[in-house]
């Protein structure tokens, strides 16, 4: 089988805060195959954005990547010199951010921000770059693309801005796109439009995608696989249909139970008890234990391993011990 496009292994990213250092992404591992769309699901603060930023090596003080490997097309990104990394960013891997109003530079026109990417990565310059930028905007569904080139971000609507951001992301024909909550800042109708746009680009250009979201609805419609994150760790990893049909981790189960179902008023909506742990002083073993309806004594003594199950599924919960053939224990705490 072909090697996956992206392999993340044991990624660990620390953050130094005024409450002390904390691990924002703890031994995160997953893979992404070519043409696949992976969802990183979880609540705010669970570490999904940090994971994305770490993959692109955009983590800065006070954050620091301390362990792990990130193989992209066979190369470990974490060990690349910065200059080589810069050539990849925007060119082979691109990111779409959450809030286009704050992510697009307010002092420059939209057009110049697109052509800048094209120019820096040697794709096109001058007039050719402007033409390509206009074509991109047209492909993103923006009316009067030529005029739009000269617009400033604050002159455009939220939906248009997000399209511009996506245009910038695909401008240099990357192989991987990481979309960090691309529709969270938009209203529902726009959400659908933007997701459709992303889906069509994905198919047309054969892109692989990582979609970061807390919206399970989006996950079910657009993603092939999903990694569920909680408190900095991946607790479950499966294909989307399997995940939705039969969640193997109590947290995933809880998430699904939170979603109201149209036309089924009889099914209760149950929130998950408790609150997300403070990562500066997390629960000692399984991080979900304080909120877990199935908690056992051992859950608070030692963190469960990743139980490998049929079909490449992973679940980090002692409940799955009996079903699995294989358990991946984390390496002993060193640093």
């Amino acid at each position: 089988m072909e090697r996956p496009l992206l392999e993340v292994a044991g990624l660990r990213t620390w953050f130094d805060t005024y409450r002390g250092p904390l691990v924002a992404a703890d031994r995160v591992s997953f893979e992404l195959r070519r043409g696949e769309t992976l969802a990183l699901v979880g609540e705010s603060g669970c570490g999904k954005s940090v994971t994305a930023t770490s993959i692109m090596r955009l983590v800065r003080r006070p954050g620091l990547i301390t362990h792990g490997q990130v193989f992209f097309r066979g190369e470990d990104l974490l060990r690349l010199p910065e200059r080589a990394m810069r050539r990849l960013r925007g060119r082979r891997m691109a990111m779409v951010f959450q809030d286009p109003l704050s992510t697009l530079n307010p002092a420059f026109t939209v057009g110049s921000q697109i052509t800048e990417s094209l120019r820096v990565h040697g794709v096109a310059r001058g007039r050719a770059a402007r033409d390509q930028a206009a074509e991109l905007l047209a492909a993103m569904g923006l009316p009067s693309p030529r005029e739009r080139l000269r617009s400033y971000p604050h002159e455009l609507s939220g939906g248009m801005r997000q399209r511009v951001m996506i245009a910038i992301a695909v401008s240099c024909s990357p192989e991987l796109i990481i979309a960090d909550e691309p529709t969270t800042a938009l209203d529902v109708t726009l959400q659908a439009q933007i997701m459709e746009l992303l889906a069509s680009i994905r198919t047309k250009r054969g892109l692989s995608m990582i979609l970061i979201t807390h919206d399970l609805g989006l996950v079910s419609r657009f993603c092939d696989r999903a990694a569920v994150m909680y408190a900095g760790r991946i607790v479950e990893y499966a294909t989307v249909p399997e995940l939705l049909a039969r969640p193997l981790h109590p947290y995933t189960e809880g998430l699904l139970k939170c979603i109201p179902r149209l036309g089924r008023p009889d099914i209760p909506v149950t929130p998950i008890e408790g609150a997300v742990p403070d990562l500066a002083s997390p629960p000692p073993a399984c991080r979900f234990a304080p909120r877990c309806p199935y908690v056992m004594a051992r859950c608070e003594e030692r963190e469960p391993p990743d139980y490998r199950l049929a079909g490449g599924r992973l679940a980090r919960c002692y409940l799955r011990e009996g079903e699995s053939e294989d358990a991946l224990w984390p390496p002993e705490e060193g640093t």
């Binding site: 005024y18 250092p21 006070p62 301390t66 362990h67 640093t335």
Partner: protein
């Protein structure tokens, strides 16, 4: 890739809002040091007659331009040396603190009260008062501060009362703008609406509700302005149009010593050093106050 985090310091850790202002101020060693320095100067000003070894205006004809004690030709009677008229430099510097501090405090108080008062009224009531004052403020703003003070002093000559007025002439504008802005914002604020709803009268509103809230930035501004005023007074005195020459003032002393810089450098140097130290500590205190009271003004 495993590195120690020892070199990763927390990014300008946000101060926990619950920390008392005092604790923060005291915790900041630099602000503390500057506070001590200011107290020293204050003491100098207050207890000058007891601290100064000599009468500041007394001339010693046999010790003209005497060098400071640690240089050859100096002696311990005149620790910092004497000036062109044989007056003890140390005593003059000690007495000079009075003028600088008194003037600084007087001008700052005056501008603070007038400026904040007018600003409070203009911000809260608006209307014609606001309009008229805005015009005046705009015109005043057109002048660099010192130029205006200079023009006034040029007209009147070295005079203490005129000096206070000249320095205050433009200074109130800063307080005006700050308090006006805050009063304007306060006018719409919830706590004001609530107080009005409870039947509070306007003077009560202004004095007891709004004023306490605009005080912190005003205090910070006052501290920082003090430094500017002290330097301005010294500059004007240096030019001969500040403090009357009979009163020992640091600026005048530097001017006096200017002619002798080739041979008796200390006459001009030490008074200026005093100015520097006082202004530096006032600035530090102001910055410390600002960090503690009003971080949004942070520069």
């Amino acid at each position: 890739m495993a590195q120690s985090l020892a070199d990763n310091r927390p990014d300008e850790g946000r101060a926990d809002a619950r920390l008392g202002t005092m604790r923060l101020l005291v915790g900041n060693r630099v602000a503390l040091a500057s506070g001590v320095l200011i107290l020293v100067f204050l003491a100098m000003g207050l207890f000058a007659p007891w601290l100064a070894p000599h009468d500041p205006n007394q001339q010693h004809p046999d010790a003209i331009r005497a060098a400071p004690a640690w240089q050859s030709g100096g002696n311990s009677t005149f620790l910092l040396g004497t000036d062109g008229l044989g007056r003890d430099l140390l005593s003059r510097i000690i007495y000079g603190a009075r003028v600088s501090i008194a003037l600084g405090v007087a001008v700052v108080l005056l501008t603070m009260v007038v400026g904040s008062g007018l600003g409070l009224l203009a911000g809260y009531f608006g209307g014609w008062l606001d309009g008229v004052l805005s015009r005046v403020v705009d015109s005043l703003l057109a002048f660099p501060f010192l130029v205006l003070a200079l023009a006034v002093m040029a007209a009147t000559g070295p005079d203490l009362a005129a000096l206070v007025l000249a320095l205050a002439f433009k200074g109130w504008v800063d307080f005006y703008r700050v308090s006006r802005g805050d009063a304007l914002a306060a006018r719409q604020a919830d706590y004001v609406m609530a107080a009005r709803g409870l039947g509070a009268s306007t003077p009560h509103l202004l004095l007891c509700e709004i004023l306490p809230n605009i005080v912190p930035p005003i205090i910070v501004l006052a501290a920082l302005r003090m430094a500017t005023i002290i330097i301005a007074e010294a500059s004007l005195s240096f030019l001969g149009i500040g403090v009357p020459p009979s009163i020992p003032a640091w600026g005048t002393m530097v001017a006096d010593g200017r002619a002798d810089i080739a041979t008796a450098w200390w006459i001009a140097t030490f008074p200026g050093l005093a100015i520097l130290l006082l202004v530096l500590s006032v600035n530090l205190l102001g910055e410390g106050l600002r960090d503690a009271l009003d971080p949004r003004m942070s520069l």
